[in-house]
Amino acid sequence: MQVVGLTTPQEVFVASRERKFRINEILVIEDPHQGSLIGEVVEANSYNRFIPLSINHDFVDARVIESLERLGYSISEDEINIARVKLRNEASFPVTTGAKAHLPEFSEVKDLLVRSTPQEGLALGEIKNTEETADTMDENLKGLFYVYTKGEKKKTKNVPFLLDLKSFQQYPHIGIFGGSGSGKSYGLRVIMEELMLKEIPAIILDPHYEMDFSTKEEGLEGTPDFKSAFKKFQIGEDIGVEFLALGKRDLLDLLSAVKPLTEAMSSAVEILHRRGDTLLSFSSRLELLAEALELGRIRIEKILQQDMEPQEREKYKKMKELLEEYPNIPLVSVQGIAWRLRRLQASGLFNHNIKPVKEALLQGKLAVIQGPIWLLQVFSTYLLANLYRARRDYKDGELKGNAKGEYFPPFVIATDEAHNFAPKGYDAPSKGIITEIAQEGRKYGVFLVLATQRPTLLDETVTAQLNTKIIFRTVRGHDIATITEETDIGAEEAKRLPYLPSGDAFVSSPLFGRTVAIRVRLPYTKSPHTLNPFDEIKNYRQKAEERLLDLLETHLPIYETNLLKVIQALNAEAPDLKLEVRTLKESLETLVKSGKLQKTDTPFGAMYHHQ
């Protein structure tokens, strides 16, 4: 391996006859005058020195090359491999042509590759193309996890990529970007697993209902058990908001999450909601006011003149008072608010509180928050604000020398679809709190892990605060532009973004001072629903078919002329199938097609029977 051709202080070409180069590989160049220089392969080419790529600008007849191969010639025999190598640090003057180059021993590049220990770092994956260097690595860094490559699950043979926990103090927030199917969810899962292993309290908002850690990936040895390390909470079922603790702002957010509020409604809420309101007091105020507005002041006064139960009287008196107190609120506004409140109530949101989440965090667990995205958005606003406040109050108290405050630990907040929670260009309930944490969370030890398919749609203030970025395959030009703007990712890497395989990513982090190409490790656990949609359809069809066949069993052989009777029997056994002559006939034909039944013509019409 040696330096060839024209060199500059930033870049050289290295040629080798024996070894093919791989992108991102690190090479050490032994410049006779400048000592060892470290560089990274940014482009790798191989070509046969003697077979011209083109004759008169046309590609050489592929047939001829194929013929030569059939005559036993291996086109790689006279191959030369060329790497374009970018130097880590600019050299003082151009590298000497002819300088030798070699693959580094681990000790030569340790600081460049590993910035933590397995004990103190999150093992996110392996650094690509570092096998040879990994051979000379300390034993405790070897084979830390599995990777999934070329259809096989294998212990890693590369240098591990470790994200140091202590570095969060300095570089607190992580962004995960990548298109659909690029590996974001797997990446998030790996980070969550690592946090659980280190017992770091964390919350993940899970709009896709995919963050469950109880099912182990098959075929791995020594998988840790996460069952007691995380807790799943459904909004409205396990957790919710305490109405009493809601501020006006929270309430407005909640109501508008159901359906945006009109301006009149918003101001009505501002007026109607009182400090110390319970759900009951607030909702009965709404209902009563609505009823009063419908009846009108005159009718109410008339009613009050009649004889009635004291309780009844009390009610109408209240109505009259309300009308006097809120003379300018339109009926439709009150009705609109009441309708929204009823929907929230029906979701069970108000029947619970966030205590279980707080407890999980105090126990160093991962809290998985699940719910439909509309609810998750508002609920998370309330939840995050509360948790953040708890942490801040404790920390501020400590600073003021007032350590009596209730302890609340530092924690990590993670979410997929982050652009929904902090969108660029418009307001969303959760945007305020996320921006606040992005800007100030570091002080209090509250860290963000934000994943999104569309970095371009994420609020810029937030994006700017994401110090470490993990970038998966990205195809959209807009997003690539955003990424090149927001990270130190170079033009070379940007060009490769659309072609990264799922699970491969570039990590851009000030800690490493360069972009590191990694393959995210295989998670220890898998999502409860990783079935690919087509397998899912197939599975479903198969199951339905088997079930029908089971049901038909006792009725075989079936005559075409007698379908009605069979249908009656079948519908009695399995009413959910809702069979009709047409559908049963279609199903029978399908079964014939797939070879499960046979069809024979008889004097009584077609007969369906066993093989």
Partner: protein, 318 residues
């Protein structure tokens, strides 16, 4: 454009019109083919690309070997020159490559010779290097076919002493010895058709007459005469290039003519200049370039002594 010397212009235009006249007098395609067929000078034939099975069986029999040589001399004035030569035999099937090389310098020759004699010597020296590589290829690489860059007749004449060994070895081992000629210099056709050709064409080279007269993959096999005795020759258009190449085969191996034609056709890129890609590759590999020669001089003779052998004129940029 610079002002040209009037006299030069006139001279040139006279030569050009003579050339144009000659080109116009070339018999047209149909006419020429007719003449050739009637004269019994040879026959037209078509070759085809070999099938994968044929190629595979060739590969099982040892593949093919390409043999080529290269010579290059420093630009000094005689006898202050050094000539570097090498030959290479390279197989498609065996990794080992056979190289022979030689360095000549008239200053240290036993006998006195003039420049023309020295030129002859370098020619035969190169031919012998090629023959040596080919002979060793027969022994060591055991191919099914040896493709030599250049005509076999040239080897026979210029490497007299080794030619017999090479021919015998090839025939004994059943290895087809084939010469592939890119620049045809023979005049077989014009010699045979003398009576029927227009005046200007009487001494024309074979390639000139056949230029454009053959279809891609088509060949003209000529009956052996004179110098070519003991060989069989076919002129063939192997690519889109209208200029034919020549293929030589030993008389003793004549029965394989057709396979050889097919093989050469198969290995020649359509858009190339008509010679098999394998010979192209061997040529590139064996080539002693000016840079290489200069490197050798600098490394072994040192800058100061190299000056001796490289006249100022050669160093002036073109």
């Amino acid at each position: 454009m610079e002002r040209l010397n009037e006299n030069l212009k006139t001279e040139f235009s006279i030569a050009a019109s003579a050339l144009r006249k000659r080109l116009k007098e070339r018999p047209d395609r149909e006419n020429l083919r007719d003449l050739i067929e009637k004269s019994g000078l040879g026959r037209f034939k078509r070759s085809r690309r070999m099938t994968n099975d044929e190629l595979k069986s060739l590969s099982e029999k040892g593949g093919i070997v390409g043999v080529d040589g290269s010579t290059n001399s420093t630009a000094g004035s005689f006898p202050y020159v050094i000539t570097v030569q090498q030959s290479l035999a390279k197989s498609t099937a065996v990794q080992e490559e056979i190289y022979y090389s030689r360095v000549l310098c008239p200053l240290f020759m036993q006998e006195d010779m003039d420049e023309a004699e020295y030129l002859e010597l370098t020619k035969s020296s190169l031919a012998s290097l090629e023959a040596m590589a080919a002979i060793e290829a027969v022994e060591k690489l055991k191919p099914a076919v040896i493709l030599v860059d250049g005509s076999l007749v040239r080897l026979k004449i210029e490497a007299k002493s080794l030619w017999g060994d090479l021919k015998k070895a090839a025939i004994d081992k059943g290895i087809l010895l084939v010469g592939v000629v890119e620049g045809i210099t023979t005049k077989i056709i014009s010699a045979a058709l003398k009576e029927s050709l227009p005046e200007a064409m009487k001494g024309a080279c074979d390639w000139e007459l056949l230029f454009g007269a053959l279809d891609v993959g088509e060949g003209l096999e000529v009956v052996p005469t004179g110098l070519k005795e003991g060989f069989r020759t076919v002129f063939m258009r192997t690519s889109l290039d209208p200029k034919p190449i020549g293929i030589d085969l030993l008389e003793e191996q004549y029965e394989y003519m057709e396979q050889v034609e097919n093989l050469v056709f198969t290995l020649t890129p359509q858009d190339g200049r008509g010679i098999p890609l394998w010979l192209d590759l061997v040529d590139k590999k064996v080539k002693i370039s000016d840079a290489l020669l200069e490197g050798l001089l600098k490394a072994y003779l040192g800058e100061d002594f190299s000056e001796f052998l490289t006249p100022k004129r050669a160093k002036r940029s073109p």
